[in-house]
Symmetry: C3
Subunit: 143 residues, 3 copies
């Protein structure tokens, strides 16, 4: 029998680029859903956030922040400023390049990740944000 469960949560983020490990929250939702095999879809809500996976180690997190800021540097001119003057043109571009969603497998009731692989939420905006994350779990019943 296939079941679908939804879990939505918010997380306080520092001004961008801020990167937070949300693996624990996703794992907890899967435990509550009590599914054996399936998939969890993780979507960042809002046009200045994104989600991906990486080894959550402080050095490589700094590396990722630096390179995201090289792809769309905060200190360049953006056409977005003509209309909005809010200084976050680069945030929107970074977010679109990284993408809003990932899908991770569930096997034997657990997230199927590598040993050093974590799910991370990214805030690209120039202000601290309460970012919303939406999980949809689809899977077979446990047992």
């Amino acid at each position: 029998m296939i079941k679908l469960y939804k879990f939505d949560f918010s997380i306080e983020m520092e001004r961008g680029v801020d990167i937070k490990d949300i693996t624990g929250m996703v794992a907890k939702a899967i435990t509550k859903a009590n599914v054996k095999d399936g998939v969890v879809h993780i979507t960042s809500i809002g046009s200045t956030g994104s989600v991906t996976t990486i080894e959550y180690e402080s050095g490589v997190i700094e590396d990722l922040k630096r390179i995201i800021n090289e792809l769309a540097p905060p200190d360049r001119y953006y056409e977005h400023e003509r209309a909005w003057h809010d200084g976050n043109g680069h945030s929107h571009v970074q977010s679109a390049l990284l993408g809003p969603s990932v899908s991770i497998s569930i096997r034997s009731g657990k997230l199927e990740l590598g040993t050093w692989q974590q799910i991370v939420l990214i805030n690209h905006d120039i202000h601290p944000r309460l970012r919303k994350v939406s999980l949809t779990i689809i899977g077979t019943d446990e047992g």
Copy 2:
């Protein structure tokens, strides 16, 4: 009860980089599907297209186009030209970097997007294209 619905449509695109807002078409499909909670998977078909989310505002759309063309510039030499001489090596690389699919949550019968977040289809090819988009909606029955 979990239901699955498919919707496929095509959209006329200008030569790349062209970026079109397809949120309305996705929202209409969800209304037709009449699901309450679930997820919609949006996939761009073809090796010179991609899909992501962004604020669909003319300034930031220009910013995204410019930066996509910096990641894989049209005016560089591509090995792809040795075999094909069709001038779209950069289009293939851009498309692979952006990725072909996103997954967006459905909550209370609606797309769960941020206020300023739209779903966009991107044509990276050097010719106008009738690009195909494939939607798969999985969710619980309304009511």
Copy 3:
């Protein structure tokens, strides 16, 4: 009736950036699953791999490798080295930028891809790897 099938496989990869066509393996899983319409979620397990789609043609594959190595160049300094000294800081960053998953539609029992569009697994690590891929297929019964 909606069904869910899981298929997991491993593939020998050369040191990064190595890019392999896995379309045949995904197609075979869909045939075994015997679903008519639905979606397949393809996830790369591990923090130095990624998955996307591209035309699997030797020239453009070289182009993609070169540009991935420009986004996060192997010969730069990475903070990741302070803690780990394993020389693969760029591999983690590349993997996070490309992303771990894609979702491709299934229509009439087949992968809904463009004529020149293939699903590829990427190894960004500096060593050869047996990379794991996890497929979750959700769809309606054939016939």
